[in-house]
């Protein structure tokens, strides 16, 4: 809370605090299985999570650990990533580290008579350890306190009490399933020819909410745990499992469960709602109030004085975290060029800029044109009228009315005269860093922690010389014992060598130039040490209309592999890579991207990405890459794929700070489908200040 104790000794009368606020109803549910998906204990259910929920969970029973991350991608589709560690799965003395993905689709929403129904794939792209498919139905009774589930499963979920596959009536091929459970198969491939094949079995159960804190689950499991029984001494005494869960106010729960009459397990889950930041409207200071109009004389204003960096207007904007880079006043119109150094929501920058302009420009200036910039490029021009600001400051629908009255256009050329002394600029920063490598094939968590120094010198608009050096202090990224066995050029799989052979390292050291070649066009040239493993030259051109959902990009790079010590030297390997990209904003936060081109190992193919970005900037996405490298040559995983997250700093803290913490989780990093990791690709640089993003967060205009 930002409300600070300032006026010591004051009191507020007992009468003012004696009357309690009216209470709100609380609803609690405990729908998570030990696989992290909606379900009972081992068995899935016909439920889904609330749209957008990110569900973290973990489950332990003797010899088995599961770490799950699930995401309700759309109201009807959920996906899960799982990292499991299973002792003795492949025989005594062995440990299986398994990564797997699930997918579920709600094909029937619950009605008064009909249950909700989900069709799902469990472990569809991993090693088949938990490979199974199911259709589950769940009906809720007693004001949702009782949920009854029934379903049919195939694969591992058809291994106990199985019967001949009813889908065999459609084709005899459904009656057999070729792969032995858990034997591995073609890791990473979609074994579509096995889905819903082989014996099927029924499962079911119920979940009962005893009170707002406690719930009880009982299930009949169709999983025989065949491999665990054969190799790990697991005893399958009964198909019945039971669990007791305790729920917390934030939706988290702790569960103890009995598994097949022989094991006691523990489970914990935590739902994260990306829609819910720490503070809905942030804890930054209040914006400047709109003051009454004043004449030029009253403001001691003249056009010359405002052209310097120490004018009251510049100072007032600087106080808001906004740099005034240019201004031109012609008649009743002022055009300014600004750089937003503080607010994650550009709409908030525009709102504060407009109010500062209104308070510092004479009453004769009635129209404000604000040019937003990104890395020196003008990205959009927003036109706001003083009359509207004054009319809508406390208007009940002031946000949308101000959006409706604003004008948005491209700004390929700035129309604001540059303020003397804006350039050169020099920025620096010292900070700790965390470099994680999550869920690699031998260890769930590796990471380095250290110190990072960054500096950037900007001699003119659009030109940036920058670098970052890192000194790892503690960590275990260099402790991996997996040498690369790739038959492709080792463009990424020597990552352990980079960790082992480096100490003080240059993360990047580049010269970047950002420019506007024409209307709706954006350009970038980057040269130097581009990323930790490659240096060279990167060029990019982006076509992105200010008001449209579609963008097209092209990128050509010459990349040369850096020495393992990550200092100034290079290795022999070099390559020309490049991609043509299509970006599309589908609306409602769904962003699609397809990149077609040549990858670092010289392979040709395409990367398909889908991200869901919440209006507050929290982002969850997934991608996969298919290239002309065969699945065999690619190695473990068959093709590159992964999931990624970005959590904005302001989502976590409420403070007005740009940027966020992001990471990408791949089941395994191989050499096929590997793309150059150049910084500041144009699409993400440009889009924040364009219309789609402005509209998403326009509520912040008056904040």
């Amino acid at each position: 809370m930002t409300f600070h104790k300032y006026f010591h000794g004051l009191w507020v009368s007992a009468a003012m605090s004696a009357t309690p606020a009216l209470s709100q109803d609380v609803e609690l549910k405990f729908p998570v299985s030990e696989f992290g998906t909606p379900g009972l204990i081992d068995m899935p259910s016909g439920d889904v999570f609330e749209d957008g929920t990110l569900q973290l969970s973990t489950a332990f029973h003797s010899g088995t650990q599961k770490y799950n991350l699930s995401f309700q991608i759309t109201p009807r589709v959920f996906g899960s990533f799982r990292y499991a560690i299973v002792d003795a799965f492949d025989g005594a003395g062995t440990t299986r580290y398994d990564r797997s993905f699930d997918l579920g689709y709600l094909f029937a929403v619950e009605t008064e008579l009909r249950p909700s129904m989900v069709i799902g794939l469990r472990d569809f792209g991993g090693t088949g350890l938990y490979g199974s498919e199911y259709i589950a139905a769940t009906k809720h009774f007693m004001d949702d306190r009782l949920a009854v589930t029934g379903g049919i499963g195939w694969g591992r979920l058809g291994s106990y009490g199985g019967f001949s596959n009813p889908l065999g009536a459609l084709s005899d091929s459904f009656k057999t399933r070729s792969e032995v459970q858990g034997a591995g198969g073609d890791t990473g491939q979609l074994d579509v020819d096995q889905w819903f094949h082989g014996d099927a079995a029924l499962f079911g159960g119920l979940a009962y909410q005893i009170n707002p804190r406690l719930s009880f689950k009982l299930e009949y499991s169709s999983d025989a745990y065949e491999t665990e029984v054969a190799n790990a001494g697991f005893q399958h005494k009964t198909p019945v499992n039971a669990a007791l869960s305790y729920g917390f106010d934030n939706g988290a729960d702790l569960t103890v469960y009995a598994l097949h009459g022989s094991e006691i397990g523990f489970m914990a889950s935590l739902p994260i709602n990306p829609r819910t930041p720490a503070y809905a409207s942030g804890i930054e200071e209040a914006p400047p109030a709109l003051m009454p109009r004043q004449s030029a004389a009253a403001l001691s204003w003249n056009e010359g004085s405002v052209q310097t960096g120490n004018s009251p207007l510049s100072a007032a904007l600087r106080d808001q975290g906004i740099t005034l880079e240019g201004i031109t006043v012609e008649g009743a119109t002022a055009t300014v060029r600004i750089a937003n150094g503080r607010y994650p929501a550009e709409a908030q920058t525009l709102g504060r800029t407009a109010r500062v302009l209104a308070n510092h420009l004479p009453e004769t200036v009635t129209t404000f044109r604000v040019e937003s910039t990104a890395n020196g490029m003008t990205t959009a021009r927003t036109t706001l009228r003083r009359d509207d600001l004054e009319a809508l400051e406390y208007d009940l629908d002031g946000s949308w009315r101000s959006y409706a009255r604003a004008g948005f256009e491209d700004a390929p050329r700035t129309e604001a005269a540059t303020i003397t002394g804006t350039y050169p600029k020099f920025d620096w920063r010292l900070s700790p860093y965390l470099d994680p490598a999550l869920f690699d094939p031998d260890s769930p968590l590796r990471a380095d922690l250290g110190l990072q120094a960054e500096a950037a010198f900007k001699p003119m608009r659009g030109l940036i010389f920058s670098g970052a050096i890192r000194q790892p202090v503690i960590g275990n990224l260099d402790e991996s014992t997996r040498p690369s066995n790739s038959v492709l050029p080792h463009v990424r799989t020597d990552i352990v060598e980079y960790a082992k052979q480096s100490d003080l390292e240059i993360k990047h050291l580049t010269a970047e130039y950002f420019f506007r070649p024409g209307k709706n066009l954006f350009g970038r040239v980057t040269a130097g040490y581009l990323e930790t493993m490659y240096g060279g030259l990167s060029t990019e051109l982006l076509w992105k209309p200010v008001n449209g959902p579609l963008a097209l990009g092209a990128e050509v790079n010459y990349a040369k592999q850096r020495e393992f010590d990550q200092l100034f030297g290079f290795q022999e390997y070099d390559i020309v890579t490049g991609h043509a990209s299509v970006y599309y904003d589908f609306g409602r936060g769904y962003l699609g991207q397809v990149d077609v081109g040549r990858y670092l190992a010289g392979d040709y193919g395409a990367t398909f990405s889908l991200d869901r970005e919440f209006d507050n900037g929290f982002r969850v996405g997934a991608f996969f890459t298919l290239t002309d490298v065969s699945f065999d040559d690619f190695g473990e995983g068959s093709f590159d794929k992964g999931i990624r997250f970005t959590v904005p700093i302001d989502w976590l803290s409420g403070a007005p700070v740009q940027g966020g913490y992001g990471t990408t989780i791949r089941p395994v990093q191989r050499d096929g489908g590997a793309r150059l990791d150049v910084r500041n690709r144009l699409y993400e640089v440009v889009r924040a200040s364009q219309t789609n993003e402005l509209e998403d967060r326009w509520g912040r205009f008056w904040r």
């Binding site: 809370m1 930002t2 409300f3 600070h4 104790k5 300032y6 006026f7 004051l10 507020v12 009368s13 009468a15 003012m16 605090s17 009357t19 606020a21 009216l22 709100q24 819910t276 503070y279 809905a280 409207s281 942030g282 200071e285 209040a286 914006p287 400047p288 109030a289 709109l290 150094g341 709409a347 004054e390 400051e393 406390y394 208007d395 009940l396 629908d397 002031g398 946000s399 020099f426 920025d427 920063r429 010292l430 900070s431 700790p432 110190l451 202090v473 503690i474 209006d615 507050n616 803290s653 409420g654 403070a655 700070v657 998403d696 967060r697 326009w698 509520g699 912040r700 008056w702 904040r703």
Partner: protein, 217 residues
């Protein structure tokens, strides 16, 4: 270098370096994190209002322990909407004693229309009114909610505003519901002038209620 030494070094460096940046915003954030209890220096606007003898409120957040501050009126626009600012750079939008906006509270009220309630308080009538509140949602969009509010006159009560001035007031409850949210506002309305000298007004679900009392010199 041993692992323990490295950890100690790292923690030390993190504490020192979190505030190291050419960006004053970053540095301020780090300083705020490491020194949360430190008070804020009042802003220039607040000091100017103080010098001009602007009217003030003592304010307390009902959800926060020791969450008190004062607000001074900074400006009034052509529609009679007032902006009040605090030394710790929060602000309120007020109109005729009714809260119509907050800024900087974490979960703010963007705007409100409480004219019907104000009319009832002015006339002293027990009645049903409609109130509208626009909140800034978690997704940074504005959403307007309508409430049905029951105005009831509870009692007559003196409110001491200073050592030398006690206002003779009527206490009114405004009980509002809309199916999703419910809250109750309290208004102490001075008899005769019909000025709201003390109130407890709902801001948002997370922020809760703000208690305000006029400062009388």
């Amino acid at each position: 270098m041993s692992v323990k030494t490295r950890i100690a070094l790292l923690l030390g460096f993190v504490a020192v370096l979190s505030g190291c940046s050419s960006d004053p915003n970053q540095s301020a954030l780090a300083q705020q994190f490491f020194n949360r209890s430190k008070g804020f220096e009042p802003g220039a606007d607040f000091l100017a209002a103080q010098r001009s003898g602007a009217p003030g409120y003592v304010a307390g957040l009902q959800n926060g322990e020791n969450a008190y501050t004062i607000f001074l009126r900074q400006t009034v626009n052509a529609r009679g909407e007032e902006t009040w600012i605090s030394p710790d750079r929060l602000s309120l939008g007020m109109k005729d004693g009714m809260l119509i906006a907050t800024r900087g509270f974490g979960d703010d009220q963007l705007a409100a229309d409480a004219r019907a309630t104000r009319a009832a308080l002015t006339s002293g009538r027990e009645t049903v009114t409609e109130r509208f509140v626009t909140l800034l949602t978690e997704g940074s969009t504005a959403e307007t909610f309508a409430f049905r509010c029951q105005i009831t006159r509870e009692k007559q009560e003196p409110v001491q505003l200073s050592e030398s001035y006690t206002a003779d007031t009527e206490l009114f409850y405004e009980t509002c519901r809309n199916g999703q949210m419910a809250f109750r506002n309290l208004f102490w309305v001075e008899r005769g002038t019909r000025t709201i000298v003390q109130s407890r007004q709902w801001v948002s679900t997370e922020t809760g209620e703000l208690a305000l009392r006029l400062i009388k010199p």
